[in-house]
């Protein structure tokens, strides 16, 4: 029963990791910007959702909307005022990385200063588990997390497949110059990628605020997981990132079954190393697809 419990927990965690990883993969896949500050978007979203729900006493939909607006603006700000100038002048990958990493720290400290540096949570019945079988506890939020993950994932795929902007985004990841020839503006498409990718962290952050609680330093951890999920899933593949997030969530949770809990997070990176060594293109990476 313990294994079943850990699998259920892992599915919930995997859905949250998957959503965040898909956002990161969308941005990185389309624009080739290593947006480490994606973790900062997650922190911002979590805190604004919590603030809307607890301090402003807003409906959860309004709180989600507040978080979406804020992180989309943050994503657009990063693209327009941080990454684009760096890329225009030198475009060094390392400079982009350091700038994004620095912004992650700035946001972490700003959030701590504004909202406090302690632990916050949105208290909701959704997160309270009920015993559905002897010693098997499941909270309604697990089902919500999985459903939300599926809805957003398939919604995004539909958007990318059926709309002109979506087609443009996919084309941008392959050949920005060709995109321009077809009359589309790569910078505009990059902004769409940042807006969409950032917005995708909101459901994950809101679910985390309810199920685990939040603190200003949480962004770094979620960023590491997103990055690992993107690599495990295959860089450039949204489906791969979603699968990678789910695999890492399951691995982190199930690791406790036989290993000391100390190893639960290390297992995430063991999975990553296994993929890097034996399947560097990930589940569905480009190198694999190109064969």
């Amino acid at each position: 029963m313990l294994l079943l419990q850990l699998l259920v927990n892992g599915l919930q965690l995997g859905a949250i990791y998957g959503l965040t990883a898909v956002g990161f993969a969308l941005i990185f896949g389309s624009t080739k910007v290593f947006h480490v500050a994606h973790g900062a978007s997650f922190t911002l979203a979590g805190y604004l959702f919590w603030w809307g729900m607890t301090a402003l006493k807003w409906h959860w939909l309004a709180s989600v909307a507040l978080a979406v607006v804020a992180v989309v603006l943050f994503g657009l700000f990063m693209e327009r005022f941080i990454y684009r100038p760096i890329q225009r002048h030198e475009g060094a990958f390392f400079t982009v990385f350091i700038a994004a990493f620095g912004m992650q720290i700035v946001v972490q400290n700003l959030v701590g200063t504004v909202f406090g540096r302690g632990f916050e949570t949105v208290s909701a019945e959704l997160s309270r588990s009920v015993e559905i079988a002897p010693n098997l506890f499941v909270a309604p939020i697990a089902a919500v997390a999985i459903a939300v993950g599926l809805v957003f994932y398939f919604g995004l795929n539909l958007f990318l497949a059926r709309t002109q902007v979506g087609t443009g985004l996919r084309a941008l990841s392959d050949n920005p110059d060709l995109v321009r020839i077809f009359g589309l503006e790569p910078t505009r498409l990059a902004q769409v990628a940042f807006a969409l990718g950032s917005a995708l962290v909101v459901p994950a952050a809101a679910l985390t605020a309810v199920s685990q609680g939040i603190n200003p330093g949480m962004g770094s951890h979620i960023m590491l997981i997103s990055l690992a999920a993107t690599i495990v899933g295959g860089i450039g593949s949204l489906k791969g990132a979603a699968m990678g997030g789910m695999l890492l969530g399951l691995a982190e949770s199930v690791a406790v079954w036989k290993l000391d809990p100390q190893w639960s997070e290390a297992v995430t990176f063991v999975v990553l190393f296994v993929f890097i060594i034996f399947r560097p293109a990930g589940f569905l990476g480009r190198a694999q697809n190109a064969k």
Partner: protein
């Protein structure tokens, strides 16, 4: 605005925000977590120390203005050593407030070599009693807490099966070591001991393991935001047993968490109405922070006040305020009337203080046992 300009603006803001320093000021340092997941402690510790500095300056207790220089340890040993080196070698302070076991153990050799006193009011590992002459503690260490708490849990309340969740740092290890001794000694058993990484935020699997071990009481030995996350996720995931911990529970993140209601933890006994000094601290703390003071408030206020009293004596004797002279003076006069009552330093730099047992109760604590004596 271009990034370099933005960074320049931020740097300028922080420079102008700092208090002006004068050569004739008496300076002491504080090596506290002001950022990162444990910054909530740093804010609390620094706030209490700042009130002590205000009181010392308002009452002109020293011949010159007392200034507190705060460096950010981020609660990590590496950053703590960087901060300590700056305080010792650049700012040349004779006395540094410290916190967290890992940080304290890392900075103690730096202070010892430079003959700079480090004084801890937050870390509780028993190892902190063995860091040399220049490392002092104004907080009872966790071995005293566990020695007093274990008999209460097992004998008085009848909770014989104890599950432990402990963080992988010296404080967590110290609690485990003490429970391994004192739980069996009092007729109980440690049914499981689950170690968690410091940065871990996901505890639903831990909750499943705890449920499987069927304990009577769950002892949490972590600190900062992680404690609150553990409590919430234990409760959300079906763990209904009594929760217990050590003095690290004295932070708003835990006290204000609805799921933490009823949790038990010991701290040193503080009587806020004991004397004018305690009342003044309690009143100023409430006015500034809008909440009740706790043991940490007293510890960091007292850490500064111990310096002030030692420095007063040195000034009276016409001696310079150096770490070496502060140590000699403390060995001459080991007893101090400070906030919360009388504090007596033992020869190894630790303090002997009475303990009390607290219960989390809707954002604050109530004392459930006033004199919790070690077994």
């Amino acid at each position: 605005m271009k990034l370099p300009k933005l960074l320049g603006l931020l740097a300028a803001t922080s420079i102008f925000a700092a208090s002006p320093l004068r050569a004739q000021d008496i300076r002491i340092g504080a090596n506290l977590p002001m950022s990162g997941p444990n910054a909530e402690y740093g804010e609390q510790f620094a706030g209490a120390a700042a009130i002590a500095v205000e009181h010392a300056n308002a009452d002109k207790m020293l011949s010159k203005k007392l200034v507190l220089l705060i460096e950010d340890s981020q609660a990590t040993p590496q950053q703590g050593v960087v901060a300590m080196n700056k305080l010792v070698n650049v700012d040349k302070v004779p006395y540094v407030l410290s916190a967290f076991t890992g940080v304290s153990k890392a900075i103690a050799p730096v202070g010892d070599k430079a003959h700079v006193v480090s004084i801890n009011g937050g870390g509780v590992s028993p190892d902190l009693a063995e860091l040399g002459d220049y490392f002092w503690n104004v907080i009872p260490l966790v071995n005293f807490e566990v020695q007093a708490f274990a008999p209460y849990l097992i004998k008085e309340r009848g909770w014989k099966k104890v599950a432990l969740i402990y963080v992988d740092d010296p404080a967590g290890e110290a609690v485990k070591k003490e429970l391994e001794i004192h739980v069996p000694k009092n007729g109980g058993s440690l049914v499981t001991a689950l170690q968690v990484p410091r940065a871990s935020q996901q505890f639903s699997g831990i909750a499943a393991k705890v449920r499987e071990s069927q304990p009577d009481v769950v002892f949490i030995a972590s600190f900062g935001a992680q404690q609150a996350q553990i409590i919430k996720q234990l409760r959300d995931n079906g763990v209904k047993q009594q929760i217990a911990s050590y003095s690290a529970f004295s932070i708003p993140a835990v006290l204000q968490l609805p799921e933490a209601k009823g949790a038990l933890f010991p701290t040193q006994s503080i009587n806020w109405a004991a004397d004018a000094l305690s009342q003044r601290l309690a009143s100023d703390w409430k006015a500034k922070k809008g909440k009740e003071p706790n043991a940490y408030t007293a510890n960091y206020y007292n850490a500064v006040m111990v310096f002030v009293k030692l420095a007063q004596a040195l000034e009276k004797a016409g001696l310079p305020i150096t770490g070496e002279n502060l140590l000699k003076q403390r060995l001459r006069s080991a007893s101090f009337d400070v906030a919360g009552g009388r504090m007596v330093f033992l020869p190894n730099g630790t303090v002997s203080m009475p303990l009390q047992l607290n219960e989390v109760d809707n954002g604050t604590t109530k004392v459930v046992k006033a004199n919790l004596a070690p077994n």
